[in-house]
């Protein structure tokens, strides 16, 4: 982010013809020490998650947090309304008892988990957004047809327009394109 000219560059993108070719290229990009790069393929490729070292998404933890929050909230609400604010005897039961709170609290746990998962998903994939620099490149559309695209981001510490291009050429990537960001 130091030189103003570099701000324009989003990354370098190359095209491959087969799942095996892009898997092999991905291994070499990883071994070359890059960390901010991505692949775009028409279908999931077995083993790509391991090559890219993609761990489990953190969305699950947000969902857990949302669920736990709602669970505790509803249990508190039942205690507050039934035993504290307006004590009311129903069916000879105690004012507050754990089995009583469990069913509504559990229902709201599911609700909280679902909302948490949605918010977590939107937060981690940075959606919604109106535009993405890659969508400006016409051949990017082929990633949903028959081509396998690998992109190395300009924010990577090893990124250099000339060296990274050389690496992609060595790997057998076709149509190597510099992706620019207008922002």
């Amino acid at each position: 982010m130091s030189a103003p000219a570099k701000e324009k560059v989003y990354g370098l993108m190359a095209e491959f013809d087969s799942p095996a070719a892009i898997l092999d290229a991905a291994k070499k990009v990883r071994d070359a020490g890059y960390s901010r790069w991505d692949t775009f393929t028409p279908f999931p490729i077995h083993g790509m998650d391991e090559v890219m070292k993609l761990g489990n998404s953190l969305v699950g933890w947000v969902a857990l947090g949302g669920g736990a929050f709602m669970f505790a909230n509803v249990a508190f609400l039942i205690w507050f309304s039934n035993a504290w604010d307006y004590p009311l005897i129903v069916g000879g039961k105690p004012m507050f008892s754990v089995p009583m709170t469990f069913v509504p609290a559990y229902i709201m746990l599911i609700m909280g988990g679902a909302v948490g998962a949605l918010i977590g998903m939107l937060a981690f994939n940075q959606l919604p957004r109106l535009h993405h620099p890659l969508l400006k490149i016409p051949q990017f559309e082929t990633a949903s047809r028959d081509k396998f695209i690998l992109l190395i981001g300009a924010t990577d510490k090893n990124f250099s327009v000339t060296e990274t291009r050389k690496l992609l050429e060595q790997l057998g990537g076709a149509q190597i394109t510099l992706v620019e960001d207008e922002d």
């Binding site: 491959f16 013809d17 087969s18 799942p19 095996a20 070719a21 092999d24 290229a25 077995h46 489990n56 699950g60 857990l64 069916g91 000879g92 039961k93 089995p99 469990f102 069913v103 050429e169 057998g172 990537g173 076709a174």
Partner: protein
């Protein structure tokens, strides 16, 4: 995901463990016989307060029997679900599941004999006449001494037939390799799963719930089923991991096996907690004395602490440990949970069986007796299982779905795609 079992470590050497089942049988058999002798003596000599000491022995034996009976039922369920869903991945673990399921034949029938002999001491309803006891009369004709033996015999007859058909057809296929056996096994699983559900429910009610014959709970069969499947999955995970590390199934089992078994184990952790809570919640909500007394007894003395241990240990501990995706393939995490599940399942059965005898809390001076019966029965059944396992191929060697189970077609696709050196820049 972790890849701890993809490292090349030397295969497990289990030859040192070979004597363990026999040892368990000897020690457990001694303790059981001692228990029988002591309780017999106490019943007949100077029994001033008319306490039925033989019930102590009978219930301890019943606990061990129900533990291994539920394990075999759960394995039978896994085998039948494999056939009914036409699953491919579970081919590798099917053989030893069949062997555990086929313990439902003569081995568990022999183990049932002491229960049949001491039934009058275990089941108090046998001592009441239906003419004077309304609750026994309502359950005629099953709740008569003759009805008990006939029903038990029918249960064992069905389970023996079903498990031995599934097991022997599978062994037959090892020789012929024909799809015909697969179709037959699927047929037997079809009627089998329905009859299995009925037998499991009624046997759970007749053998375990009837220790407190005055009580009723409609979900008891589901509850017993969920726990059976839970304990079977824990056992399957341990056996699969041992066979994997030992090398017997090393080429066949892959990480996805352990992931799938782990996910099922996790799912049944939830399901069994759900059924147990549902039972409690309905009784709590309805608040009727003829139902609540069962739980009230279980709030006395140390039964209260056992119920707290079960809430935490039967559900919360395994649930939160197994919750993350990646731990399900990690032996170091899941195997301790599986062993823990054995303990929890035994405690859960004890929670169902023993409070009838000890209303005021468990008397720990008797703890050696259930330990002895568990050891004896575990050792005996482990010996039968090991003998069956070692005298047959360790997996269905000519099952039509075997290659699929090994993931061969998936690798074929990758092998057929052009290598990176031939494709590329034009």
């Amino acid at each position: 995901m972790s890849s701890n079992h993809e490292k090349k470590s030397p295969p497990l050497n289990l030859s040192g463990w070979r004597c363990v089942p026999t040892l368990l049988m000897v020690v457990g058999g001694f303790l059981s016989l001692l228990g029988l002798a002591v309780t017999w003596y106490k019943n007949t000599h100077g029994n001033v307060n008319n306490h039925d000491y033989l019930a102590e022995f009978g219930m301890s034996w019943l606990l061990a029997f129900m533990f291994f009976y539920s394990l075999a039922l759960g394995s039978l369920f896994l085998v039948m679900v494999h056939h009914l869903t036409d699953a491919s991945w579970s081919v590798g673990i099917r053989r030893f599941c069949e062997h555990i399921a086929s313990l439902l034949g003569w081995p568990l029938i022999v183990m049932f004999l002491p229960i049949a002999i001491f039934s009058k001491h275990i089941y108090s309803w046998m001592n009441y006449s239906p003419e004077t006891n309304n609750l026994v009369a309502a359950k005629l004709p099953v709740f008569t001494t003759c009805g008990f033996y006939v029903t038990s015999a029918i249960f064992f007859g069905i389970l023996w037939f079903l498990s031995s058909r599934l097991s022997s057809l599978s062994l037959q296929q090892d020789k012929t390799g024909a799809a015909e056996q697969t179709h037959k096994m699927r047929f037997h699983s079809g009627w089998g799963i329905v009859v299995f559900a009925l037998v499991l429910t009624f046997s759970g009610v007749l053998w375990m719930k009837a220790t407190q014959y005055e009580w009723f709970s409609c979900i008891y069969g589901v509850y017993f089923f969920s726990d059976s499947a839970w304990i079977a999955l824990a056992t399957v995970y341990i056996i699969a991991a041992i066979l994997y590390r030992q090398g017997t199934l090393a080429g066949l089992l892959q990480r996805n096996y352990f992931y799938f078994i782990g996910v099922l184990f996790f799912g049944f952790t939830l399901f069994s907690a759900y059924t147990e809570f549902a039972q409690y919640f309905v009784v709590w909500n309805a608040n009727m004395p003829q139902e609540t007394f069962w739980y009230l007894i279980r709030e006395n003395g140390n039964w209260w602490w056992l119920s707290m241990i079960l809430i935490l240990g039967h559900f919360f501990v395994p649930f939160f440990i197994l919750l993350p995706v990646s731990v399900k393939t990690s032996f170091k995490v899941v195997i301790p949970v599986c062993l823990w599940a054995w303990l929890m399942h035994a405690l859960d059965l004890a929670f169902n069986i023993f409070p009838t005898l000890h209303n005021d809390g468990y008397h720990f001076k008797w703890i050696w007796l259930p330990l002895g019966t568990m050891m004896f029965m575990g050792g005996f059944l482990a010996r039968v299982f090991v003998k069956k396992f070692t005298s047959n191929p360790p997996y269905p060697i000519r099952d039509p779905r075997l290659l699929e189970a090994m993931g061969v077609n998936r690798h074929l696709v990758n092998d057929l795609t052009p290598a990176p050196s031939t494709g590329g820049n034009q």
